[in-house]
Amino acid sequence: MTAQEIVTRIQQKLQTLGIAWRTQTVDTFKAGAPETDVTGIATTGMATFDVLRRAVAAGRNFVITHEPTFYNHQDQTTDLEKDPTYQAKQQFIEQNKLIIFRFHDHAHALQPDPLVAGSARMLGWTNYASPTEPRIYILPATTLRELAVDVAAKLRGKAIRVAGDPDMKVTRVALGPGYGVPALTPSIDVAVGGEAAESGGNVEYILDAAAEGQKKGVILLGHMMSEDWGMKEVADWLRLLMPEVTVEWIPAGEPFGASR
């Protein structure tokens, strides 16, 4: 199968699920020739240089990435043409005849959103999903500190940041993907997601709620510690969709920390 045929099959499958392919979308080919025969698919949270090297070593020439390849949402490269990091990555892509496709907008459109389901599965929360409220998980009573320790251990995240009283009681948690950290409300104890603007609402809300004696918390996993796992769900989905192609999940992994 060619990369284009694989994308067409994805689009057809989405059509049967009632998800029309958008005309305005970042889900496009970012590198390589779509008519190339695919030797294997690698799905990943982000097509970093390191992921591309691992894909080549594993013989997967088609990389399906959730986040950008070239460091901005639209993958615009005009301003990067003379940049040595961009040039090195582009040269590696060309030398190894890699094809890169982004699967972002339409991945989030799937029900359930694999990017949320993937985190929930890693965290062991799948069975705690609220039957009526999307993205809400009703956990056995714990504290913010215990929850954060558990989350860090399960994801092996090295740079997880927490705001809020460590001793606050937690049961109702809202889980969002990547930059989509759910907004805290009176009915949510803790919001969990990837990354957020610090002037984006939750941190200020936690500080202001504390001033009124209300306890709220947020756990920021980091973008990859939030969404990498979802691309494993996507790999499983693609495997069923095209059993004739080898599909492997190559996680981008935790970018932060003293070692990798």
Binding site: D79, K89, A159, R161, Y179, G194, S199, L207, A210
Partner: protein
């Protein structure tokens, strides 16, 4: 203390009749002769940067005609900061970040939220005026928040022709992280990308938003970036790939609030130079994050 604008105006008129000597004696009472609008006007005219017609900066709460009794600058006007300002007799709060949880100050779904309503009530009760000052403070050259951050880090050697870049005593990326941790009020917000043993001699300071463009440009010369808030699909993977492509580079992210703290302390001094009539103080906001990893 809840003084109405009208009563303060009356007090100001009385003092104006008494002359400047009497006015300086009145300073300790926390009253002044300048309105919040006049403070804004002085900021506009002294800024050295044209005021933008479309801007998030400006008055966000309170009546600009109110006479200012004192000024507090802060990175973030939390309910706690507002209460502390009111208790200190500072009725004008100048904040770098939004008041109501969103850049456009639209409380949205939080409009009926008790946390939002309590904050609004504190502002109303104490007749506070809140002025946001971020785009224009950041636009001054050389960049004020970066200059203040360097001073807080005790870095004194700017690299010529490389704005916001400083030469430091040679260290490693890990050593830089330790230095930053010891000199800034950091709890759990510090995160690092790069080889811990990376040799670092020059550092680019990017408090607040750390864009891709800043990373691309600065890493041509600097060994590392000290970042406020880099996006994890922009400057973060760029630095990661730069590391992977054997250009040894690193990034240390300390968060928006910690990175902007020294800048808002410097802002207090600058505002005081424009408004000598009243006391101007900065109210620090500490690192909101803690970590289970450190």
């Amino acid at each position: 203390m809840a003084a109405t604008a009208a009563s303060l105006l009356a007090a100001a008129n009385l003092r104006a009749q008494r002359g400047p000597a009497a006015r300086s004696n009145q300073r300790s009472l926390g009253t002044g002769t300048v309105t919040a609008q006049q403070v804004a006007d002085r900021i506009h005219s002294s800024l050295g940067v044209e005021w933008r017609p479309q801007s998030v900066d400006g008055f966000k709460a309170g009546d600009p005609a109110t006479v200012v009794t004192g000024i507090a600058t802060t990175v973030l006007a939390t309910t706690d900061v507002l209460r502390r300002a009111a208790a200190a007799g500072q009725n004008l709060v100048i904040t770098q970040e939004p008041l109501y949880y969103a850049p456009n100050e639209d409380a949205g779904n939080r409009a009926k939220d008790p946390v939002y309503l309590a904050k609004k009530a504190v502002i109303d009760e104490h007749h506070l005026i809140v002025f946001r000052f971020t785009e224009h403070w950041n636009a001054r050259q050389p960049n004020e928040p970066a200059k203040a951050l360097a001073a807080a880090l005790r870095w004194t050697s700017p690299v010529p022709d490389s704005p916001q870049t400083y030469r430091i005593l040679e260290t490693t990326l890990q050593g830089l992280a330790g230095q930053v941790r010891s000199r800034l009020p950091i709890r759990g917000g510090l995160r690092m990308i790069g080889q811990p043993g990376l040799r670092v001699r020059t550092v680019y300071l990017a408090p607040g938003t750390t864009s891709l463009g800043m990373a691309v440009t600065s890493l041509q010369k600097a060994d590392a970036i000290l970042a406020g808030e880099p996006r994890e699909w922009e400057a973060i993977p760029y630095t990661l790939d730069t590391w992977s492509s054997d250009r040894g580079k690193g990034l240390i992210s300390i968060g928006r609030m910690v990175s902007e703290g020294p800048g808002m302390a410097a802002c207090a001094a600058w505002i005081h130079s424009l408004v000598p009539e009243v006391r101007v103080e900065s109210i620090p906001v500490t690192d909101p994050y803690w970590s289970v990893n450190t």
